[in-house]
């Protein structure tokens, strides 16, 4: 059925002018067709013999539908296939790797507290999609209740943690020691400072910055604790970059507070607070997670009394502050008994770099400084 007119979509056979079996000449009229725009006689496209008429008079068919078969006298015209041209090279947008996230992904991750580093992307090129984030946000997926007899698949984070822990334990010969610290005055001092500190600096004051400060000061006297074992020798770091361990739902992050040796107490407090906040809301950058020279861990916050942490690869020591507990303690030369706030400070260390003497001197220096913090005075 030919297209007779710009918008015509169908045609009706008004009258066949030839019969099946008739001979036909090219251009000879062989059928009358009517559409709602025009009626016309159609000339034959080829010379030959009409084999079969496919449509009855009065019947309507769409344009392009076959209406008759003609056996052409000479070679059959090649039927042209209209090849749709290949789509122009409009890239859907190649995005380099997983690093770039879309606005929706960033927003959803923040809203649901998802650490993007823990997700595997299902989009093009490994892209993390909004659906990936939402799937991770679903409670069931985040904390699969361990079902006895079933294997919980490893998340990416868990896999990475596992690899690092094994590596650290395998390469570093761990040793451990502990001291008790009387933090009664420290606790009082913190309580006294708290309100003004929050008003002036906008953050809640914890014991952590005091601890970090004491560690950093102690490192000035015992720089070997801020070092790394290499086959060529023990490399003593130039700066003190304190890793602060932060526990999340299914992950452990250790953001690094750089150049702690240059910072004032207030500066340390604010920087630590900021890093912990960013760790909790999955906004840490790669830079903020690298370059640590020593690590501290506030295991006391999760109720630990003593712990044996694993040294971070590339470092020589990790120091914990344990829970503050009120205990009866013997004081002074008179052997008086008093109730004091006591806090254990533990350290695991690389025995290749440090021996007992050095590390105990160091950790006792930390203790001394913490116990020296009085109700008033400079920090």
């Amino acid at each position: 059925m030919p297209q007779l007119g710009e918008t015509v979509t169908e045609g009706t056979i008004s009258q066949w002018l030839k019969r099946a079996g008739d001979a036909i000449e090219k251009y000879e009229p062989f059928v009358e067709i009517a559409t709602d725009k025009v009626s016309a006689e159609i000339p034959a496209p080829v010379s030959g013999r009409i084999r079969e008429l496919l449509v009855k008079e009065g019947e309507t068919v769409p344009t392009g539908a076959p209406i008759a078969i003609i056996d052409a006298a000479d070679a059959v015209e090649a039927v042209e296939q209209a090849e749709p041209s290949p789509p122009p090279g409009e890239a859907s947008g190649e995005h380099g790797g997983e690093r770039r996230v879309s606005p929706a992904v960033r927003r959803l991750a923040r809203e649901h507290g998802i650490d993007l580093a823990t997700l595997r992307g299902s989009g093009t090129g490994g892209r993390i999609t909004a659906k990936d984030v939402l799937a991770a946000a679903r409670p069931a997926a985040a904390h699969p209740a361990p079902v006895a007899g079933e294997t919980i698949p490893l998340s990416r984070a868990r896999r990475i943690i596992a690899e690092r822990m094994v590596e650290a334990k395998r390469t570093i010969p761990h040793a451990w020691t502990m001291v008790e610290v009387d933090v009664t005055n420290l606790v009082r001092r913190r309580a006294a400072m708290r309100e003004a500190f929050e008003r002036d600096h906008g953050i809640r004051l914890t014991l952590l910055p005091f601890f970090i400060y004491a560690v950093v000061e102690a490192l000035r006297e015992y720089p070997l604790v801020n070092a790394r074992y290499t086959d060529e020798g023990i490399y003593v770091h130039k700066e003190v970059n304190v890793g602060i361990a932060v526990a999340l739902q299914d992950n452990l992050l250790v953001p690094v507070l750089r150049h702690a040796e240059r910072r004032s107490f207030v500066d340390l407090a604010i920087a630590a607070d900021r890093l912990i906040e960013r760790a909790r809301t999955s906004r840490l950058t790669a830079d903020e997670l690298a370059g640590g020279t020593i690590t501290v861990n506030n295991t006391g916050a999760i109720g630990s009394f003593a712990s044996a942490p694993i040294v971070h690869g590339g470092q020589a020591a990790i120091i914990t502050m344990e829970a503050v507990v009120k205990r009866p303690v013997v004081l002074g030369e008179d052997d008086a008994i008093a109730v004091r706030s006591m806090m254990n400070v533990c350290t695991s260390f690389d025995h290749r770099v440090l021996d007992g003497a050095t590390i105990c001197s160091f950790i006792n220096e930390v203790k001394r400084r913490l116990e020296a913090i009085g109700p008033t005075g400079a920090l």
Partner: protein, 333 residues
Amino acid sequence: MVVSAPSSVVNNVEAVRLTLYEALKSDPNVVLLGEDIGARGNVFLITKGFLEEFGPQRIIDTPLAEAAIVGVAVGMAMEGLRPIAEIQFADFIYPAFNQIVGEAAKTRYRSNGDYTCPLVIRTPYGGGIRGALSHSVSVEALFYHVPGLKIVAPSTPADIKGLLTTAIEDPDPVLFLEHKKTYRLIKGELPAGRYTIPLGKADVKKQGDDLSVISYGFYVHQALDAARELEREGISVEVIDLRSIRPMDKTTILESVKKTRKVLILHEDNKFGGIGAEISAMLVEEAFFELDAPIRRLCGPDVPPMGYARTLENEYMISTERMAQAMRELARF
């Protein structure tokens, strides 16, 4: 005497015809003017029989002068008639450009409401019918920029009837675009009786969750075909028929994008500066944090529309396969 289609399933030509007929019958202020709309009944037979029924005062065969067709219609509208001017093909609208954008669109504003211009300009547009370089153009991008003008481009019979009825009764100038390829190709149910569809209201022709396709005109139908194909592959595509170019339905667009987070804008008109550009800018301004993929525009190439040879026209027009492929890529992004 004009006879209504016996069944309630009609094509787009019939939808325009029946709507114009009803308007002429119900409001004596409605007059039609244009080239060949009288005795010839319009080159697509849209006004066939109207001259005999309504007379030459109401069905005016104008001289061949597009600026005058619109300018005279502006005067009629200012004086209280409801003229419906026809430009025979959108490709011929350019001589009337000042009358449309400088006069009709500004009448209410420049007189601060003293005069108004309730005018409808109807014109067939679009390609895919071997119309070559003067019977294929899309003109909406030239006009949608202009404050004071309204533009609609429905592509189903039911939408045509509702929107044309509204346009005729609208107190402002409305450019009513009819995609000529859909004239006889697209058929659908035409609800009986008088009804209106408000301008500025898009229609979600298919619901979906994985991506939003925004389109209008002939391509809506191809998009629906492609979406149905993708449904079988497990991809759920939402297809929005804008219907109304100005005012445009921001609410429906935003709701859809918030749901699917991925957008494919599909239009036959040239890409650069087409409708898609405005929609993209709006989405980045207002839905930035909802977007999970760059906004994709699949549009006409930036060449004059469109070459006469079949191969040239097929290259210009976007096939259903190309649309499906773009949808697939976006869903998987």
